[in-house]
C-alpha cells in the first residue's frame, strides 16, 4: 500500500462525495451559508468538489438582521471571491412585527427569524435539497441524525422514522414538496474543523480572533455591543476587553470569551485546553431541556 489516508483526508473525501451526490441526484439544491467556521469549511469543500467548475448551486443566507456587521462584510467578500451566487432571505413579516431578541425572548425570536425565515426561503425557491454545516458532535440530538435527513412538506423532522443509512449509499428519493437536509460535515468534530482550516488556509471571520471589543456582561455572558440597537440595562457598563467568539450567530445571543488568541494556532491551542463546549456560547440551547431536538423537529437546521 502506498499511503494510508489521514483522518482529515478521509473526512474531506467523504464530504466531497456527499456534496457531489446531491448535485447528481437533486434538481434544485442550495447550500445554507451561516458565515461561521463550519460554513467556511463546507463552502471550501464545495469548491473542491467541482473544481475547476464553480459549484452548481447557490448559497442561501437567512439573515435575521441581527448578525455581527463583520459577518456580513465577510460574507460579501467570500461570495465575490468564490463566484457563488448568494441569496439573502429576511423574514420581512418578522421585521414588520418588530421581532427582536430583546423584546421577544430568544426562543420566539429564533423561531420567527431563523426557523420561519428558513422555511419561507426554502418554499419560495422550491429547493429540494439544502446543505447545512451541522456536526454530530455538537449536540446530542444531532448525533442521531442522518447525513441525508428527510423533511416532510412541512419541513418537519421525524427522529423516530429516519431512513436507515448504510455505507455511502444515500437515499435521495422524495415526493414533490418534500426535501432533504444534507449534512456533509456530520462526522467532523470541532477540532477537525479547526485543523482543516489551519491545513487548508481557509479564511474565517475575524471575530474568531481575539481583539479588543466593546462588551457588556449580561446573564453571565459577554455580549458585544455591535451597534446601537443594544440598549443597556440598568447597571450594565460597556467594557473594552480582549475577546473572541467560539461560535457566531446573532450578536445579542452570542457570548464572547475573554481571550488573547489572535492567530489560528493559538485559537486551536485555547480550544484544546478549554473545558467548555462550544454551543455553550449560544443562548438557544439553554431555553429548555431537549430544546435543540424540538427546534429540529420544527424545521430548524
Amino acid at each position: 500500500m502506498t499511503s494510508n489516508l489521514t483522518h482529515l483526508q478521509q473526512l474531506e473525501a467523504e464530504s466531497i462525495h456527499i456534496i457531489r451526490e446531491v448535485v447528481a441526484e437533486f434538481d434544485n439544491p442550495v447550500m445554507l451559508y451561516s458565515i461561521g467556521k463550519d460554513s467556511a469549511v463546507m463552502l471550501h469543500l464545495a469548491r473542491k468538489a467541482f473544481y475547476p467548475a464553480p459549484a452548481p448551486f447557490p448559497l442561501l443566507h437567512v439573515d435575521t438582521t441581527w448578525k455581527f456587521r463583520e459577518m456580513i462584510q465577510f460574507r460579501d467578500r467570500m461570495v465575490q471571491e468564490s463566484g457563488f451566487k448568494l441569496i439573502v432571505h429576511v423574514n420581512e413579516e418578522g421585521v414588520a412585527r418588530g421581532v427582536s431578541p430583546f423584546t421577544h425572548g430568544s426562543a420566539l425570536y429564533t423561531d420567527v427569524m431563523k426557523t420561519e425565515g428558513l422555511k419561507q426561503a426554502l418554499d419560495r425557491y422550491k429547493f429540494d435539497a439544502a446543505f447545512g454545516g451541522a456536526r454530530r458532535d455538537e449536540e446530542k440530538s444531532r448525533a442521531k441524525e442522518r447525513i441525508f435527513s428527510f423533511r416532510s412538506a412541512n419541513h418537519r423532522w421525524d427522529p423516530k422514522n429516519q431512513r436507515p443509512e448504510l455505507w455511502s449509499l444515500y437515499n435521495t428519493r422524495i415526493k414533490p414538496g418534500e426535501s432533504i437536509r444534507v449534512f456533509p460535515l456530520s462526522n467532523w468534530t470541532e477540532l477537525d474543523i479547526w485543523q482543516y482550516i489551519h491545513l487548508e488556509n481557509i479564511p474565517i471571520v475575524p471575530l474568531y480572533y481575539a481583539a479588543v471589543r466593546p462588551v457588556v456582561e449580561r446573564d453571565g455572558m459577554l455580549i458585544m455591543v455591535d451597534d446601537d440597537r443594544l440598549e443597556l440595562k440598568p447597571g450594565e457598563v460597556i467594557q473594552h476587553k480582549s475577546v473572541r467568539f467560539r461560535t457566531l450567530g446573532c450578536y445579542p445571543l452570542t457570548g464572547a470569551v475573554e481571550s488573547e488568541a489572535d492567530t489560528l494556532p493559538q485559537i486551536i491551542q485555547e480550544m484544546l485546553l478549554t473545558r467548555t463546549s462550544e454551543r455553550q456560547g449560544r443562548l438557544i440551547d439553554h431555553d429548555q431541556a431537549g430544546s435543540m431536538e424540538k427546534k429540529k423537529q420544527e424545521g430548524y437546521f
Binding site: 502506498t2 468538489a49 449536540e139 446530542k140 442521531k144 455505507w167 455511502s168 444515500y170
Partner: protein
C-alpha cells in the same frame, strides 16, 4: 482532551503537525439491552476527556433527574440523545460519537440491542471496521450475541472485541470469563473473523477501559482503548484493481470534461489505462485534477476528478476500472438481503436499486433461502420480513457494475428503495452474478378440447410453494389457455406473486383470463426481458398500498 496537554501548551505548531498523521477508525458497539453499551461509550468519552464542563453539568443534573444510577453519574445519558429515548430508558436509534487520542480519531456507532431494531445495527456496522460486542458476565452468550456476531460478519467486519462487562458483579472471576470466551470462540468459528479479543471489563467502574484494572491481575491483554488505538484493520483496498464509480461528469465548458468520483479500490496515475464498464471501451487517464493541484497518484478513498485522453462516452452509472480486471456487469446479481422495513419483501415487484453507480429499477425474482440468525441454519422461504436475512436473486432493468461484497464493500453493496413510499427497505450485499432461472413453473400440454384444435391448453404444473415464481411463456407459440393448479392459487392466496413473461401481446388474454377467473390483480410491465405481467391477490395488500396496484401498469 488533556492528551499531550504539555505539548499543546508549549508548542502548538508541533502538536498540530503531530496530529496531521492521525488515522481514523470506525467501530460499532453492540449488545443486548442493559448490557451497558451506552455506559461503555460514555465512559470512553469521559476517560478520554471528551466531556466538557457544561456537558458535565448537564450530565450531573440529568443523572439526578432521569438517571438509573441512583443519582450518581449515569454515563449512558451522554449518548441517549433523543428525549423519547430518555423517557424509555433505552437507545432507539444509531448514534454516532466521536473521540480521539494521539494515535487515532474514532467514530463510534452506538446501536440498539432490541430485536426490532436490528436494521440499525446493520446500518451502524456497514461503515465499521471493528465491532465491540458486549456480553453481560452474569448471563454469558445470549441469542442476541449470536445474532449480532452473525450480522457484523455478514456486513464484512473482521475484528471482534468481546467485551465481557459487569465483571464486578461476578467478582472478577477468571474462570467464568474464560468459559464465556471459549463459548464465543466456538460459536464464532464458522463466521471466519480475523481476530477475536476478549476483554474483562466493567463499564460502570472503568475496569480495563483506559487503565489496566487491579481487579483482574490474571488478565494480561490490552485495555479496550489500547486495543482500539493499535488494532491493524487491513485496508487492502489500495492493493486491489482500480475501481472508480463515476458520480458526476464535470463539464463547465467545451475544453474540460472531468469524471468525478470516489476511488473504491486501487491506485490511479496519469497515463494508466482505464476501461468503461458499460461499453468496454478503454482510454488513458490524462490528469488527476484537484483544487490543490494535479496529483501524480490517487488511492482508494480519495474523491477525485479524472480527465481522459480520448473522447469516449461516459456518464454517471459507469465504473472506470483497470482493463484486465473488469467488475461484474450484470442484470442478475445474487445478493444477501437484510430486510429493514415493516412491510415485507414482495418478490416480483419493482423496487429502486441504489448502488455506488446510481439508481436502477429492479425486482427480486427469487429468495433462495433465509438464514436463521440464531442457529445460522438456512430455511426455505418465499419472502423476507423485517430483520430477516436471506440470499436473493435480482433482476435489474439494465446491467450494473458490481464487485462481490467480500472483495469490496463500496462496489458490492446496494439498498432497495420502495418506489411509492421512498422508504429504504433493504440492504444488499452482492455475492455473485447468476443467470436467471426462469423455468420454475413447468408447462404441460393438455389434450385440446374437441372442436377447438387451434387452441392449446397449458397447465401450470405444481409450483413449489417455497420457490419463486416466474412462468416463462416466451418460448410458447400459438394460442393457449392457462390452467392454474390449486397449489398455485393457494400460493397466491398467501400473498405471493407470480411473474409471467410473455413473448408478445397475443399471449396477454390468456394471462388476463387467469387473473379474471381467480380475482387476481396484475401489473403490466415492459422490460428488456420483454413483456412481464405480475399476478397477485389484491386482498393481501396493506391498505396504504392499494392505490399503487390498480393494474394500470408501472
Amino acid at each position: 482532551m488533556a492528551h499531550q496537554s504539555e505539548l499543546i501548551e508549549k508548542d502548538i505548531l508541533a502538536y498540530l503537525k503531530s496530529q496531521e498523521e492521525k488515522s481514523l477508525l470506525r467501530f460499532i458497539t453492540c449488545g443486548s439491552v442493559d448490557d451497558g453499551k451506552s455506559t461503555l461509550i460514555g465512559r470512553l468519552l469521559w476517560d478520554s476527556k471528551m466531556v466538557f464542563e457544561d456537558q458535565l453539568a448537564a450530565l450531573e443534573a440529568d443523572s439526578k433527574k432521569v438517571g438509573t444510577q441512583g443519582g450518581a453519574i449515569d454515563y449512558a445519558l451522554l449518548l441517549d440523545g433523543l428525549q423519547a429515548e430518555r423517557e424509555q430508558g433505552i437507545t432507539i436509534d444509531v448514534a454516532y460519537r466521536f473521540f480521539s487520542t494521539d494515535l487515532r480519531k474514532f467514530i463510534v456507532a452506538d446501536t440498539p440491542g432490541h430485536e426490532q431494531y436490528t436494521r440499525n445495527m446493520v446500518t451502524g456496522a456497514s461503515t465499521a471496521k471493528v465491532a465491540v460486542i458486549l456480553v453481560d458476565a452474569r448471563k454469558g452468550l445470549l441469542t442476541q450475541t449470536r445474532r449480532h456476531s452473525f450480522l457484523v460478519s455478514l456486513v464484512g467486519i473482521r475484528h471482534i472485541v468481546l467485551a465481557i462487562n459487569k465483571m464486578d458483579l461476578i467478582d472478577y472471576d477468571a474462570e467464568k470469563f474464560k468459559r464465556i470466551e471459549d463459548d464465543y470462540r466456538e460459536f464464532a468459528e464458522p463466521l471466519g473473523f480475523s481476530s477475536i479479543t476478549a476483554l474483562p471489563i466493567s463499564a460502570l467502574n472503568g475496569d480495563n477501559i483506559i487503565e489496566k484494572s487491579a481487579n483482574t491481575p490474571w488478565y494480561t491483554g490490552p485495555t479496550l482503548l489500547r486495543f482500539l488505538e493499535t488494532v491493524q484493520v487491513e485496508d487492502d483496498r489500495a492493493e486491489q484493481p482500480f475501481r472508480m464509480p463515476v458520480q458526476w461528469v464535470n463539464r463547465p465548458n467545451l475544453d474540460f470534461r472531468g469524471f468525478c468520483g470516489t476511488i473504491a479500490a486501487g491506485i490511479v496515475h496519469p497515463g494508466d489505462e482505464v476501461r468503461v464498464s458499460s461499453s468496454g471501451l478503454v482510454s488513458r487517464v490524462d490528469r488527476v485534477v484537484t483544487m490543490n493541484g494535479d496529483l501524480d497518484e490517487a488511492v482508494a478513498g480519495q474523491a477525485v476528478t479524472l480527465t481522459l485522453k480520448g473522447e469516449i462516452d461516459i456518464s454517471r452509472g459507469d465504473m472506470l476500472t483497470v482493463p484486465e480486471a473488469a467488475p461484474l456487469f450484470t442484470r442478475h446479481p445474487e445478493a444477501h438481503l437484510v430486510w429493514l422495513h415493516d412491510e415485507p419483501l414482495r418478490p416480483g415487484q419493482l423496487y429502486l436499486v441504489k448502488s455506488a453507480t446510481g439508481i436502477t429499477p429492479g425486482r427480486v425474482t427469487d429468495v433462495q433461502y433465509a438464514v436463521d440468525v440464531n442457529t445460522l441454519e438456512q430455511k426455505q422461504v418465499t419472502t423476507l420480513g423485517l430483520n430477516e436475512i436471506g440470499l436473493a436473486r435480482l433482476e435489474l432493468d439494465r446491467p450494473v457494475p458490481f464487485d462481490p461484497y467480500r472483495e469490496n464493500r463500496d462496489t458490492g453493496s446496494f439498498i432497495l428503495i420502495d418506489r411509492f413510499t421512498n422508504a429504504t427497505v433493504a440492504a444488499g450485499m452482492v455475492s455473485e452474478a447468476v443467470e436467471l432461472e426462469s423455468h420454475k413453473a413447468l408447462l404441460a400440454d393438455l389434450e385440446p378440447e374437441s372442436g377447438s384444435t387451434w387452441t392449446r391448453r397449458i397447465s401450470l404444473s405444481e409450483l413449489s410453494a417455497t420457490s419463486l415464481n416466474v412462468v416463462d411463456l416466451t418460448a410458447e407459440y400459438g394460442a393457449f389457455i392457462l390452467e392454474a393448479p390449486i397449489t398455485l392459487l393457494a400460493h397466491l392466496e398467501k400473498g405471493n406473486r407470480v411473474l409471467f413473461r410473455l413473448r408478445d401481446l397475443g399471449q396477454l388474454p390468456a394471462v388476463a383470463l387467469l387473473a379474471y377467473e381467480h380475482n387476481l390483480a396484475f401489473e403490466f410491465d415492459r422490460t428488456l426481458e420483454g413483456i412481464s405481467v405480475l399476478l397477485f391477490k389484491r386482498g393481501n395488500l396493506p391498505q396504504d398500498r392499494v392505490e399503487s396496484d390498480t393494474g394500470t401498469g408501472i
